[in-house]
Symmetry: none
Amino acid sequence: MSPISSVEFEKKRAVSRKKIIDTALMLFGSNGFANTSISQIAKEAGISKGLMYNYFESKDDLLEKVILETVESMQGFYLEFLEEADARKMLLKMIDFTVEFLKTEKEFNVLLTSLGLQKESHPIIKKIASEKINQLMPLFLTKMNDAGIPDAENEIYIMGAVMDGLAVQYLTTEDEVHLMRVANALKKRYNLGNL
Amino acid sequence: MSPISSVEFEKKRAVSRKKIIDTALMLFGSNGFANTSISQIAKEAGISKGLMYNYFESKDDLLEKVILETVESMQGFYLEFLEEADARKMLLKMIDFTVEFLKTEKEFNVLLTSLGLQKESHPIIKKIASEKINQLMPLFLTKMNDAGIPDAENEIYIMGAVMDGLAVQYLTTEDEVHLMRVANALKKRYNLGNL
Amino acid sequence: MSPISSVEFEKKRAVSRKKIIDTALMLFGSNGFANTSISQIAKEAGISKGLMYNYFESKDDLLEKVILETVESMQGFYLEFLEEADARKMLLKMIDFTVEFLKTEKEFNVLLTSLGLQKESHPIIKKIASEKINQLMPLFLTKMNDAGIPDAENEIYIMGAVMDGLAVQYLTTEDEVHLMRVANALKKRYNLGNL
Amino acid sequence: MSPISSVEFEKKRAVSRKKIIDTALMLFGSNGFANTSISQIAKEAGISKGLMYNYFESKDDLLEKVILETVESMQGFYLEFLEEADARKMLLKMIDFTVEFLKTEKEFNVLLTSLGLQKESHPIIKKIASEKINQLMPLFLTKMNDAGIPDAENEIYIMGAVMDGLAVQYLTTEDEVHLMRVANALKKRYNLGNL
DNA sequence: CATGAATGAGCCTTCATTCAT
DNA sequence: GATGAATGAAGGCTCATTCAT
């Protein structure tokens, strides 16, 4: 009969919240945002529809939080390959990471790409996209220049396109064999095989 | 007085039909299929809601026809670069074509990509995607092998990814400067500048 | 090139009109008034939708004309058994006629019965129903009294119910065997077998 | 404060559900299924349109449930006259019951009869109709044979038709006087007056 | 904190009816 | 007369959101 401590309350809240976020990510990614209903998420997450609105202001708010928090939860992981000093090793890590990321976080990637394609996409999406360009690109460039890779800027543009192409191809076809084939082609091309 | 000739009816039909298809393509591409209502299409096309159903069986049918007929209308244009005998010239044409295609048919490309990302995408989308892989790839390979380009298969995989990456980047950011930059990087890379 | 004579016009009109009425009766009877569209009738009748409104003011008007003209076209036929002098022979004729009428004019009977059941049924329906009671019943009564049939009034009420029951049972089940069985039971009951 | 108990929810549900079923029966019976809109039912029942779909999957489902549950609610009542050992008493009860049933459950009877007349009537209707024939008829026959009523089979066919005729006449005309007249004629005919 | 009944706007679709030709 | 394109009201249904309990 003793009242549950506020700590325990917080824990329960966190668990429910995460459950909702995870379920929403899965469903948004699989079926699309518009084709996923709040009822469906609630049922799948094992909570009531009303409770959803205790955690999130609206369906749009839920989407925002889903993206924001999923991005955040991958933060450390996401850029770890940047810490690699050797440029070629970094490329290798980036390729391997991207492949892994696509395979394990398919729904998230589908969701992000889909939203990015919409004219009036959420500001968050634009922010995430611009970060990739504005933060990552310069870092790459410096590192590749330092490594004496010729025409580094051009290569980076191409590399960026390749990685995005890799993603959209895999997300569209779910063809893992093709994914690996392209990844290996890249490694060969940049002589990353023996690292 | 005299009854309308069937030719005249046909003409009227063609006009209205085209207006609907064009409007639908634009809106589907801009806002997504699910976020575009029939009312919206009708209003934008300047016709009544009901007329839609005089030409298309359902919203799904409209989507199908939009894609099918847009693809068809680009048919000749679409693969013209394949007729280029010289492999490097072909690459150049392909790049230029892709850039042009992305810029002039933005909505169509957004629509196609979005639909491709959906788990249960329309059969047409799958068909279009598979055609690209199964028909184009072998043709490229032969031509590039003939041209004595080393590691042709690898290059093709990479090229394919680059083109898709180019597309998704442009469709997402609408950044034409970036588009040209990547295109130029590609041309430089494959020494296509002087052709 | 000579203009069609007005007589021929009238003939054509009459043919088209009858075609519409017949088709409408069939469809109204089979699928119900509400479930039959003007388009369906026009297509089935082989004319254009617009032409329909050249012959009938509205769908309701068409219904009215369908009933009115179908009733009319059966008029002579309909009451011919009343002219039979002998009461028992008249009963026999009435039974046989009813059976025949149900089998050959199924749609009409279904339509009429259905409409009769609706609270706000067309005045015509009410008129037809009341005619049956107010005109036929007395005639029967006189004849049966004259024939010395005991308790004639009671018998008439029962007979009326039996005939309507026969109808609704057949129209509901389409079971011809049952129809004949009841008809024969009636004939046996009133000793009409040897006439 | 405290969450609503499931018992209370159940109670609320039952109230709303019944309100819908009752209203639907009334309107379907009065105006016909096709002429009754969900909006109309909702307005009449004092609920919102959407709530309907919280209880019934579709308009068709509602119809099915209306019929099924109305039949069920009359179950005991419905066949009680069969338990009467004496054949003539049974007939008397059946007549009285039918009259009562027609008067108190007019809408239900209208609805059932109307649906039965439709070519593609709901399976439930067919089931109900066939039950009447396949279950009731044999029971009657046995009882009347036991009672030594001559020509029992014929009489039953006639009786069945009479009862159905009684129904359709009353449902069509709403003429209670006529209903009683036919009922009394029947009682006289089978000498049921002194029971 | 939690539930799900209830709402109502908005969606896709049908169809009687009109009208330019 | 004849056609069928065009209209718009209305119908069935879904779903984000609110709220009594």
